[in-house]
């Protein structure tokens, strides 16, 4: 803060200077893409005859929705039939965030706050499900097997959150760092080989080699991490659900969730 400026003056002048990382804007763009896509599909599917066979683009969309519904039922059990939408939204956001680095803009996953929020989403979902199905028995897990274990249980409660967050962040940042090293090294090498081109020499061979590695580090790694994240979230949530499938309450909930 400069000397000749009072605190109020300083605050008023710099009120709109939010220090927001560029990755957050990338994340907002990804969210925007998903929202527009979903609204467009909702409008298209509303004006369709449900008795007719879907064709073209809509058949792909229907296949996707069916796939995620089946995924949720397979992984979590029949009580969670309505969770397909949650899993699909997570999967879309994760995969788009991972491949967003291909556009040249910073990938949202390389900013720690965003994997942490995704981890928090599934963490809150796991505990909310546990409270919903186990009611007061939920608190029994913290004093299991003896009340002496309370501090240990309170610590180990955060393990899934940490592991989900660091897995995403570590994968994204590792790919990012390796790609940056590769770009720097290949640019220097190509500049040496094509030195007759001047400063443009570095741009000749570099994109051909790095493109292949982008396929691995962004597309393949992003796909695998998306699969792992949604599988782990589903398994964690499924563990908290009711165990008896033939329970009357279960069928009631699954019917409610299916709508």
């Amino acid at each position: 803060m400069p000397e000749n400026e009072s605190l109020i003056e300083h605050t008023a002048k710099h009120f709109f200077d939010f220090d927001i990382a560029p990755e957050v804007y990338s994340s907002l763009i990804v969210c925007f893409i998903i929202i527009v896509f979903s609204i467009v599909i909702a409008i298209i599917s509303k004006h369709r005859d449900p008795l007719k066979k879907p064709h073209g683009f809509m058949s792909v969309v229907e296949y996707g929705v069916e796939f995620f519904d089946k995924f949720a039922t397979d992984m979590m059990g029949p009580a969670f039939k309505g969770m397909g939408g949650f899993v699909m939204a997570l999967a879309m956001y994760l995969f788009l965030s991972f491949i967003f680095g291909l556009t040249g803009l910073p990938s949202p996953m390389t900013y720690m706050a965003i994997p942490l929020s995704l981890g928090l989403v599934s963490f809150v979902m796991i505990h909310a499900t546990a409270v919903r199905y186990q009611k007061w028995k939920y608190f029994k897990r913290y004093i299991d097997p003896f009340p002496v274990f309370l501090p240990i249980n309170l610590m180990s409660m955060w393990a899934p959150l940490l592991s989900l967050t660091l897995r995403l962040f570590g994968n994204a940042i590792a790919g990012f760092a390796l790609m940056t090293i590769m770009y720097t090294a290949l640019e220097a090498l190509n500049q040496m080989i094509f030195s007759f081109m001047g400063t443009w020499g570095g741009a000749i061979g570099t994109p051909i080699v790095t493109g292949i590695f982008h396929l691995y580090f962004d597309l393949f790694s992003g796909f695998i991490q998306t699969t792992v994240f949604i599988s782990l979230t589903s398994i964690y949530i499924g563990q908290e659900g009711p165990e008896d499938i033939t329970d009357v309450q279960t069928t009631e909930i699954s019917m409610k969730g299916g709508n």
């Binding site: 592991s163 660091l166 897995r167 962040f169 570590g170 994968n171 940042i173 590792a174 760092a177 695998i224 991490q225 699969t227 792992v228 599988s231």
Partner: protein, 74 residues
């Protein structure tokens, strides 16, 4: 020492990927054994194997993360 210490720390931290690689090899070997015994279960075993590999990889990713932090964040 100062600067060199960070590089040495990064080099030590990256040693953690060694057991992870061994574990991944074991996952693949066992999956192949399973496939050769029961070829019909190929698609199921493959998807489970990829999931298991990614889970095993986690520790390697942690070491890589720590090593990158040692290198760049100081």
């Amino acid at each position: 020492m100062g600067e060199a210490g960070y590089y040495i720390a990064a080099a030590i931290a990256i040693l953690g990927v060694m057991p992870s690689a061994l574990g991944e090899g074991m996952v693949c070997a066992k999956a192949m054994e399973g496939i050769s015994r029961n070829p019909e279960a190929y698609s199921k075993i493959r998807s489970t194997m990829i999931l298991g590999c990614a889970l095993v990889e986690t520790t390697a990713i942690y070491s890589l993360l720590i090593s990158i932090l040692c290198l760049f964040v100081h």
